[in-house]
Structure formats: structure tokens, C-alpha cells
Subunit: 270 residues, 2 copies
């Protein structure tokens, strides 16, 4: 015996149109919602107390046990469950073989003041990170390394974009995240007593020569431009990740991983 849910079959249904529209940042901002695809991600969102507004299940997935279980859990937290033909699920996820479940989830505030300044982990600041794939990957790595949190500074890409959510592999739901301007950020980290260590081509210390055992924040710059001079001037340390002559530069997410794991290594991976 199975529960029955609202069935929607028309692409012009307002809910379907709203969900499809969440691909665009403007619509995400207006509704305060974003999309996550796949049972694993949605379970992670529920486990971390994120509010699921709508759960879309595809006809071909509707009878699977894990989908039924997820529907039950989501409805118990107030989500509306709707069942749609696979082609409609595909049109929301914008791919031919969509996951059996797609959720519209309520965004969180990302206020700096919600972060715990006493968290002993390493912090990551991303200054004008523009590539959502990089951002998602950095969230995943921050999660793996048990970072204290990630702070998006000035004009960063949207962590709630489909691409960032996908690349984060669910870590978006786990990692503490905030968004702010540089002045507020810098005041916050000073108050928290965090040494601000930036990776920079202008660095004069190798990254493994930095003392990351002290309370620290790793600051990473924009993919193309790095950090502006005024921001570099506000840092306690500018360090250099070694590169051999010929190579141009590391990808931002790769550089962040190298910094973070060097910092965590110095702390004995504790």
C-alpha cells in the first residue's frame, strides 16, 4: 500500500514553473528557495534541519522504498509532496535523466553573527569567488577537513545555485556559511582573534611555513584577480603556494584544499 500525493502533469502548472525558475538567481532571491536533487542530498538537508518546502518525486521513482521513506520524513516536517511525470522532473532539473527526487528548500540567512567565533577549527574566507563549481567543491573540502566555516566576502557567486549545490555534494547543508562585506568580515575576525592568512602571488612565506596552529582564517582571492591590495594589506600573513616555473596558477578550489590540509596537518589532523 502506498500513500497518494498530488499529481501534476502539466508543464504550465504554476508550481512547476516556479520550480523551473529556481535555476535563476533572481527567482531564488525572490522566493527564498533553491533546488537540491537526489535522495542522498535531501536526506542530508533534513538531517541538518533545513526546511523542505516542496518535494518532487518522479513517476518512475515513486514506488521505490527510499523515495517513500523520504516522502514520509519530508511531509512530517511540513513539506508538500507532488508526483510528476519523469519528463517534468527532467525539465525542473534540466537534464534528461533526472534524480527520482528533487526538493525546493528554504534558504538560510547566512548572517555573520550566526557563526560561532569560538569554534576552534580553521576558517575559510572566499573573496569574490565567482565560479559556483569552485564554491561547491570548497564547501565539500571544508566539510571533509572539519573547517569551522566558510565566509563569502563581497560579490561571490550564489551558494544556492544548482551548480554549487551539486558540486558541494550535500556539504552545503553541513558547513557553516556566512556572507558579508569585507569591512564587517575583517572586524569579525579581529574580534574572534583570528590570524588572517592569505594565499597570494605576493606572498613571501611558503604556505607550509605559516603557523596554522594559532587560531587562523585562510583567505582566498578571486579566480582571476586574486585579492585587491587593500585586502592584502589587512592580512597578517601573505603566503605562497609553491609552483614550478612554467605553470600559470592553481585552480582556486585546488589551492584552497592545499592550504586547508596543510593547516590541518600542522594541527595533527585533530
Amino acid at each position: 500500500m502506498t500513500d497518494s500525493f498530488d499529481q501534476i502533469t502539466s508543464a504550465s502548472n504554476p508550481l512547476i514553473k516556479q520550480l523551473r525558475g529556481l535555476e535563476r538567481k533572481k527567482n531564488r532571491n525572490e522566493t527564498g528557495l533553491f533546488l537540491a536533487e537526489g535522495a542522498r542530498l535531501i536526506e542530508q538537508a533534513l538531517a541538518q534541519g533545513w526546511e523542505i518546502e516542496t518535494l518532487v518525486i518522479s513517476n518512475s521513482g515513486a514506488d521505490r522504498d527510499y523515495v517513500r521513506a523520504l516522502c514520509k520524513q519530508a511531509t512530517s516536517t511540513g513539506a508538500r509532496v507532488v508526483q510528476v511525470p519523469d519528463r517534468l522532473a527532467g525539465s525542473i532539473a534540466r537534464k534528461d535523466n533526472p534524480q527520482a527526487v528533487i526538493a525546493a528548500i528554504r534558504q538560510r540567512d547566512l548572517a555573520l553573527t550566526d557563526l560561532d567565533q569560538n569554534d576552534p577549527g580553521l576558517w575559510i574566507g572566499l573573496y569574490e569567488c565567482r565560479d559556483p563549481g569552485n564554491l561547491g567543491t570548497i564547501l565539500r573540502t571544508a566539510d571533509c577537513a572539519g573547517a569551522a566555516g566558510v565566509i563569502l566576502i563581497e560579490q561571490c557567486c550564489d551558494p544556492y545555485s544548482v551548480e554549487a549545490v551539486r558540486a558541494s555534494m550535500g556539504s552545503l547543508f553541513d558547513v557553516r556559511l556566512a556572507r558579508t562585506d569585507f569591512a564587517s568580515f575583517n572586524a569579525w575576525r579581529r574580534e574572534a582573534g583570528l590570524a588572517m592568512v592569505a594565499a597570494s602571488v605576493n606572498g613571501n612565506t611558503q604556505h607550509d611555513g605559516v603557523d596554522f596552529v594559532q587560531p587562523s582564517l585562510i583567505l582566498m582571492g578571486n579566480e582571476q584577480a586574486g585579492l585587491p591590495p587593500a585586502v592584502e594589506a589587512a592580512c597578517d600573513t601573505l603566503c605562497l603556494i609553491p609552483m614550478r616555473g612554467g605553470a600559470d596558477s592553481l585552480n582556486l578550489a585546488q589551492a584552497t584544499a592545499i592550504m586547508l590540509y596543510e593547516g590541518w596537518r600542522q594541527r595533527g589532523f585533530a
Copy 2:
């Protein structure tokens, strides 16, 4: 005064169709060609002696100095230069704002026997790496870290795909690369006297506890499945990159960067 090149304006021109077709692996295999976009990448290819078969320049880019210089250099090495309307350049690159220059470049053999077994750098083996974005990113990081080379083992994605070339940011042209089966690979690395160190969830040593100063090869498994038991059994060391409880796993390119930079760190970044 400007040189004049063959002008092509029709999308049904056989050359345009061939170039557009290089998006597909089948066509790349049949022609032995692949695409690279943008002056920086193409300059890098020329500098490393890659053979440029065709150089496509867009009408709007044709009068720029750096494009003229690139055309001159490419024709001197035997390339055919054709000039096309921007919309045709876009149709080859499959994007709305294509680069001013796109090249069809001849693939190289990627034979294991062409690699220098005496190169003192760290080697990277990728076993069934399936994501071209990961592969390209790993090539870029290998280039930055001065790795000896990258060996693709068994069924990997195509390093000549548009996505891999893009993600490599030109490092595809710099990094020594080979492609082979596991048995040949394992015989080769034994002959070269390389310790084979794999990152694995079955590892019992932390990655920073491995001695990477000895001649070493870092082996990384498939994005989903990791390494099969028989391959792990052939390794000298299985090591673990630390992760905190909650997180699932690191992205393959991130994990490779962490291994490679730890190895290079132990070698004093020399």
C-alpha cells in the same frame, strides 16, 4: 596591412562540420584531432611543439595584433588558417561568446614508453578517472607541482575532450601524459623502481606519514568506486587522507592535489 586567409561563411562547409564534430570522442579518434580555444592555450601548444592542423579566427578577432601574431606563427609551422563569422566560431566552440581563435590540434600518442623513467619528480596514476573536469584540473595541478607525468590507467575519460582541455588551462600541452592498461603500467613502474602509493579508504597510514622522498607514484582511483581490490593489493602503501566523521569524501581532483602537495612538501618543494 593584413594577410588574407581563406574565408568560410557556410555552416555546411565540410571543414566546419569536421571541427564541430570534434566535440565527440568518436570523431576525435577517427581524425586524430582535438580542439583548443583561446590564444593563451594555443600559444602554449605551439611553444611545446604540438602540431596545429587548422587555426580558426573569428571576424571580430581577425584584426587584433595577438591574433595576427598567432596566425603568422601557426602558418609557419604548417597550419591552415581560416577566417569565419563569429556565429560559426560560436558553433564550433558551442558557446555564445567564443574566443577569437580556436585550433584543431593533432593528438599525441600517449605511449607509456615515451615517458622518462628517470624523471625524479612525483608521478601520478589515475585509475579509471571518468570526469574530464577532474582530469583537466589534475593536469593543471600536476603542472604546477612539477610532477614527472600523469598516467591514465584502464578506462579513463578522454584527455582531449573539450572539457578536459578547458579545465587543464593549457597544462595538457606541458604535462607528460600516457595511457595504458594496469598490467603494463604496473610492470613499467616496477622497472622504474617507483613505490606505488594509493589513496584509499582502506588505507592504514595517514597520507602525511608516507615517505614520498623515495621515488614514488601516487595512484588515485575512480570517482565512485575507488580502486579494485587486485589493484590495491599491488600497491606498496595504501594511505588515508584524514576526513572528519560526517563528510562523505573528497572530490578526486582535490584529493590528488592534497597527496601531490604533501609529497612535494616532504621533498622541500625542490
